[in-house]
Symmetry: C2
Amino acid sequence: MLDGNAVRSVDRAASLLIALGESQGEAGVTELARRLGLHKSTASRLLATLQKRGLVEQDDDSGKYRLGLAVVRLGGHAERTLDLRSIAMTELETLARSIKETTTLETLEGDTALTIAYSDASGMGRDRSGRSSPLHATAPGKVLLANLPEREVIRLSKVGFTPYTSHTIVRIDLLLEELARVRKRGFATAFGEFEPSVNAISVPVYDQRTSVVAALEVRASGNRILPSRVPELVERARDAAAVITDRIGGVAASL
Amino acid sequence: MLDGNAVRSVDRAASLLIALGESQGEAGVTELARRLGLHKSTASRLLATLQKRGLVEQDDDSGKYRLGLAVVRLGGHAERTLDLRSIAMTELETLARSIKETTTLETLEGDTALTIAYSDASGMGRDRSGRSSPLHATAPGKVLLANLPEREVIRLSKVGFTPYTSHTIVRIDLLLEELARVRKRGFATAFGEFEPSVNAISVPVYDQRTSVVAALEVRASGNRILPSRVPELVERARDAAAVITDRIGGVAASL
DNA sequence: TACGTCGTTCCGCTGGACGGGACGCGAAAT
DNA sequence: ATTTCGCGTCCCGTCCAGCGGAACGACGTA
């Protein structure tokens, strides 16, 4: 047993998969063996075993190996069960401490936004995740709406938009305009639209395919978030969102 | 060396990954060991090795394992390098033989549709893949356009739409209407719009996340595809597209 | 408090995995 | 056209990695 408690041949096989993931499409036995410091008969045998389970496949013509369909399926499943909260938590805490405001991560849950991660500036406040909030009246809600098909927004309008404050957008035409702005600018704001004294900005968090999986929010009570401060907060939020996307394994798309 | 030339511990580790993919989110050491007929110390050791490479992760509270971030990344990479043509070829050939028409699979390539797989009714005609055709004047082109943001369609209209025949749609307003119909019906038709005597229908092929990765086309010369025959061909094409999606590892979305 | 189950760790044993070398094949060089 | 080279696969003797069994600590339940 080498390397702590790792099973050597499994560790080698895993390295082969990861090396294939890092290569441009495909690689040969000899090349992979060289890259990983393995004997080519060892690499060949390990690859043949991975191929048996569909984790790799071999091109009939060139003899080179690439990742197989079973990896696509496992990847899809892994993404569905991913613990986005754990992935994002460190970044939210770091951002909250450095800008001295509350940060949250919201995902779409039916017709609402769900807080899946939360951090206040002290990093020691009580966990307020698990809460729902409306889509039309919050900054992350607008980010999530902006990335839905327009017919979904129209469907929601038929249920009606609750006017939480005098600033809440309740007319469908004005909301659609606002969502167009969100798409154009790549971030959303909400000034006293859900809670009278709460201002917030939000940016999208992408998975590795430029799909929006969450909205990252910076929020504050009182007049701590004024329009003049928005550009700085948006930039900081985007940086944090890009780190989260990178952890998921993607490349942050620019809106 | 058991089971042909497979490396036993690698085969076992791969089985663990696949079992995790088949489970609802996560599973424990003892459960996985039972399911695969392994000793639990063996399962524990193999899982620890997979965890070391990020292929699985263990929940801190429950001790259960789930697929890890490295699998999400590998899955994304595998999808990008997937050989869609090989996956789809059997289905295209089967469909072509059974309906006695030519079938193709088209993907978006810049501003055109690219034939990545082709089969005629005999299954023995020469391979006509690798060819490009216009988006606005072909059935698969319309399917691909219908799944792009509208601003992409408008951008294309600025280049202009070549009138290949007297039936080609060249006005942007008429094309947008046609694309709305495609989205609504879930399939596209083209009657002599690119080549005067060629009629075709096309349906979307999804990956596992309801993204359209290709358009499957049934085409014929002369009057073999009349409007009365469209429903049957669309149904057959959808069935073939669903098989392809299932092979990729997804669930076909109903439009 | 006692019991059962889980996941982890340790250890002796042995057969599975290894590297070395040979081989056939196809492409490149001559 | 022939020769050379590199690739991937296969075979085989060797040896230590991986195995199962047992014990242990932790945790949840009765």
